[in-house]
């Protein structure tokens, strides 16, 4: 029998983005995360002051925050952009240089996993043809800097959307790489719209929980997407307990990171009333989600 997995619970700093730099400093966010009992976090490259060239003083400060608040780096979100200029796309070599820059930063800041956004051409996240060329050329550098590029499986994409198996999984099998995989966003299991977010998807085609099993060997970090957690610490639109049980029973010991997308996140800047609501709801919702994960995991 497979040994039970012991996933860590963590938080995406993205969850606080409406407040960051407005009513919340980076240290405030670390304190907030510490309060929840989370042990790891996702950063975005954009949250590195001076990106792509943070000062040594900031890097020291960053590690000081990790130590002070007992939080481990989990995943660095970045973008494999190949259209940074007008007109034709960049060459593979230009894209690889951008990727190397982020790999180095991830290594410097202690991230072993990356959420690598490959250029998509529609809402189903079908990748722009040719992505294999620059990603394959980047693999030796991912190995050098000890990072795994993870493509996010994000609603409305499902685990059975053709490009997931036909392109991404095929790429992993063909190259044999351990430096490319999946960040499976729990939103892909969402069964119904959240109140106030009815426009997001029709939820006619969603991932079934059991589909995750095949992908666990290729996943180190997953986004714990949520659109609202009630006061009983339940996410009513996503079968969290069922999915996490499958992960644990199949020996998965990666990171599940709270990624908040409650309705106010989209409208926080529209009025003073909305922003005041966001200031209260956002941290509270992340706290609720962490309690929910703790209740399911048992720690």
């Amino acid at each position: 029998m497979e040994k039970k997995g012991t996933p860590r619970r963590g938080i995406c700093l993205y969850s606080y983005h409406n407040l960051l730099g407005k009513t919340m400093t980076l240290e405030d966010a670390f304190l907030e995360m510490y309060d929840t009992g989370a042990t790891c976090f996702e950063f975005l490259t954009s949250y590195i002051p001076g990106y792509p060239n943070p000062t040594p003083e900031w890097v020291d400060k960053y590690w000081g925050l990790c130590e002070k608040y007992q939080l481990q780096p989990s995943e660095l979100g970045h973008w494999a952009e190949n259209h940074l200029r007008r007109g034709p796309g960049m060459t593979d070599e230009e894209v690889v240089e951008e990727l190397k820059m982020d790999f180095r930063l991830a290594n410097l800041l202690g991230f072993k996993a990356l959420r690598t956004k490959i250029t998509c051409t529609n809402m189903m996240c079908d990748p722009e043809p040719g992505w294999q060329n620059y990603i394959e050329k980047a693999l030796p550098y991912a190995e050098k800097y000890d990072v795994v590029m993870q493509n996010e499986v994000h609603l409305p994409t499902t685990l059975h959307t053709p490009h997931i198996r036909d392109e991404y999984l095929d790429f992993i099998h063909r190259t044999g790489t351990k430096h490319f995989g999946f960040n499976i966003d729990f939103g892909t299991f969402q069964t119904k719209p959240a109140k106030g977010l009815e426009w997001m998807s029709d939820f006619k085609d969603i991932s079934k929980p059991e589909e995750i099993v095949d992908f666990l060997p290729y996943s180190k970090v997953c986004h714990g997407k949520f659109t609202g957690v009630n006061e009983n610490f339940e996410e009513e639109t996503i079968p969290y307990a069922e999915v996490i049980k499958l992960m644990v029973d199949n020996g998965w010991s990666g990171d599940i990171l709270s990624e908040m997308e409650i309705p106010i996140r989209f409208f926080a800047e529209d009025s003073a009333e909305n922003f005041a609501q966001a200031m209260v709801e956002i941290p509270e919702q992340v706290r609720r989600h962490q309690i929910m994960l703790r209740n399911i995991l048992g720690y």
Binding site: P49, G50, Y51, P52, L84, R85, R86, C120
Partner: protein, 145 residues
Amino acid sequence: MVEFQTIQQRGFHNTYDENGKINGFEFRFVPKYYKGYWFSQCRFGNITVDGEVFDRDEVIYVYDGMEYSREELFSLRKYWQFREPLTFRVRKEGGLSIGYHNVGLQFGWVLNYNGALEAEADGSGLGNMAHMFGTDHERRMLLCR
């Protein structure tokens, strides 16, 4: 720290030439998006103040103490840091009157995220993310000097 609105009132004032004569106005803008951008990904539209239109190619974009034209931003290898304001400097003889003004602008960007690639090869549009995040911003602001 910046204000929660995208168009910032802090920094909204008339500008003066070396002789102390008002020659225009300026204000600051901070996108509400969750990440920063390379400036070459940014697409700017015109500015309006109380209905008066100021052409995007007449605007001076000021970042990190440096002035740029819209055209220069297309090839600028510089990252617009998250939550860092960009100043829009507009030439207008006599500037704006003391009091309230409705300030508007259009801003879009190009990103590799869940949409068609940019339709305009010359960057003349507002990028490829308008379908998800819109482009229009407006705020009523009080000018004091």
